[in-house]
Amino acid sequence: MNNCEYQQIDPQALSTPIPTPTLPQPTVVVEKEKREKARKKWEVFPGKNRFYCDGRIIVAGQSGVLPLTIGLILVTTGLFFVFDCPFLVKHLTVFIPAIGGVLFVFVVISLLQTSFTDPGILPRATPDEAADIERQIDSSGSSSYRPPPRTKEVMINQQVVKLKYCFTCKMFRPPRTSHCSLCDNCVERFDHHCPWVGNCVGKRNYRFFYTFIVSLSFLTAFIFGCVATHLALRAQGGRGLMFALQESPASAVELVICFFSVWSILGLSGFHTYLVASNLTTNEDIKGSWSGKSGAEDTVNPYSYNTIITNCCSVLCGPMPPSLIDRRGFVPVEASSQTSATEMELPMLPVKKETNVCAQGTKDLLGSASRSPCPTTGKPQPVAAADPAVTFNPALISDPAAMPSLTCGGRHHSHTTSPPDEPRHHHHHHNRHHRTRSRRGRGSKRPALHISNPAYNASLSPPSSPGPRPSHTGARDPRRDSIVALH
């Protein structure tokens, strides 16, 4: 009987004719041979994200107004360099374009990193895991009313924290994790979904986001100052401001853009500096999780280190966690006749290490062994009969989907089809326009053109938190919508 199992290994999937799969030195060869059959995990990713460059770049489903953000930055800086810098270099110093250039590079790089980095997406629970959790809920089930609330309480640093069950991802969300309905993912240390950046801001890209808004506020302030100086110098000698503006109309454009941007961006930077110093997320701040408004009076932030320096350092300079979704790994082939030999997939690596793919010899061995321990025969009944105490659901053992759960939210990504990226674009276009229109229509005090705070536009008043936050008086609604829509 055991011999039969051996021969079920598909020799085609191996680069060598030996039936026992060897160490994955031939990952690259295997990869080529399986290219027609196996797909990469990003292709079957159940969230609403889009992937480019073979999974190296990840963006949210809706790109929001990222093109507008990039456009505004490029246009303003371009005009600055072309129209203002020559004059200022002649009259002042050559360091002006140098500083402007450095700031511009920082802004663009951190913006791209914020947009294209995995914010800390949690992969969905495997079917086995989901079943185990369900079993625990049912066994401890005290649901006298339906539906059961599905929360779990844990003690974190002597503070009671409620963990909610995510129905989409089929797991109890870790603390500070939230489900983004726009991206349809649970994101760790979820801050907010930023339409300006076109991505969620979470654990992994919060430092990029912070760098972006801080450097952008410096850049806008710098350009504003330089343009004002430029116009002032031109208007010297009694010639007047109008004369100066006529000579350099581009400066007027820059002045307008920067004037309206600088307040909102500076305000946003101040707000996020406050959040960083107290180790809070925007999500928690809005909900008032730790300020005692929506609960017991004794709530303190259990994650704070109680000193500003330590909080700042841990948030901004802490170790960079790895990406938990293995975008570029191969989906394990789920056919029950094909056994472990076909599951020699790429190791779990962050995106930037795709060049070192072949290096993880021993890890592959275990990885492919452990990644989908599906039984080859798919006949769990004898086992269940042998040990009636095993309450494991046989139906789930034989479920070949060892990859993250595809049963929910996988609109385009059913593993039975081969989903291209394109349909997602069209799907979300109208959503984006709807959102931007609804944002602008909320009585915004500012013109729609400015580079301003993400999703802060409406006229709601902020909760009573310290710190200058003029830019967030509004647009709680879109964010609240997205946050309230979380389940």
Binding site: M1, N2, E5, Y6, P21, F106, I109, S110, Q113, P123, T126, E129, D132, V154, M155, I156, V161, L163, M171, P174, P175, R176, E188, R207, F208, T211, P302, Y303, T310, C313, C317, G318, P319, M320, P321, P322, T339, A341, M348, K352, K353, Q360, K363, L365, L366, G367, A369, S370, P373, C374, P375, T376, K379, P382, V383, A386, D387, V390, F392, I397
Partner: protein, 172 residues
């Protein structure tokens, strides 16, 4: 017939192959159950796993061995996520280079993750596979759980699961 997990003393070359290749474990065994060790959030959001011994493993492995494994893993993760001198240096350096350095350099976290992978591999080979268990690296489950798969030897179907652990003593 290979009823026991005593691969080291079994002279059948086929069973030697089973021992040396964890993937072959599945050909002679069938998955009976999976145990999930959940995260322990009592110290915050840093990665720690509960060391509570699950009852399903009672007859399979000694409690101390299991707890040692989990504690070592917890220590590894604590080392990876430690905020201290080196992580600050790494963070500040990355900040000054606009985080481009993350594209070129392997972070400390990734180095520790590799160590963890090797450790789990070694634990599986030495301790868990001989007992018919297999630990899945938590990184493959989103760092949410340690998944331990319990295998039943097919040849022993019809008898209870306890019999397959008889060689636990000799497999060391």
């Amino acid at each position: 017939m290979g009823r026991s997990w005593d691969f080291q003393h079994d002279n059948d070359p086929k069973h030697k192959a089973i021992f040396h290749n964890l993937q072959e474990l599945r050909h002679s065994a069938s998955l009976a159950n999976k145990v999930f060790i959940q995260r322990d959030y009592s110290e915050g959001t840093t990665c720690r796993f509960q060391t509570k011994f699950p009852s399903e493993l009672d007859s399979r492995i000694e409690r101390t061995l299991f707890e040692d494994t989990v504690k070592t893993l917890n220590n590894y993760y604590a080392e990876a996520e430690k905020i201290g001198g080196q992580s600050y240096l790494e963070g500040c350096l990355a900040c000054t280079t606009a985080y481009i350095i993350f594209l070129c350099m392997e972070t400390r976290y990734e180095k520790v993750l590799k160590k963890i992978g090797r450790y789990i591999q070694e634990q599986n080979e030495k301790i868990y596979a001989p007992r018919g268990l297999l630990i899945t690296d938590p990184i493959e489950r989103g760092m949410r759980v340690i998944e331990i798969s319990i295998y039943e030897d097919r040849a022993s179907s019809g008898s209870s699961s306890g019999s397959s652990s008889t060689s636990g003593t000799s497999a060391r």
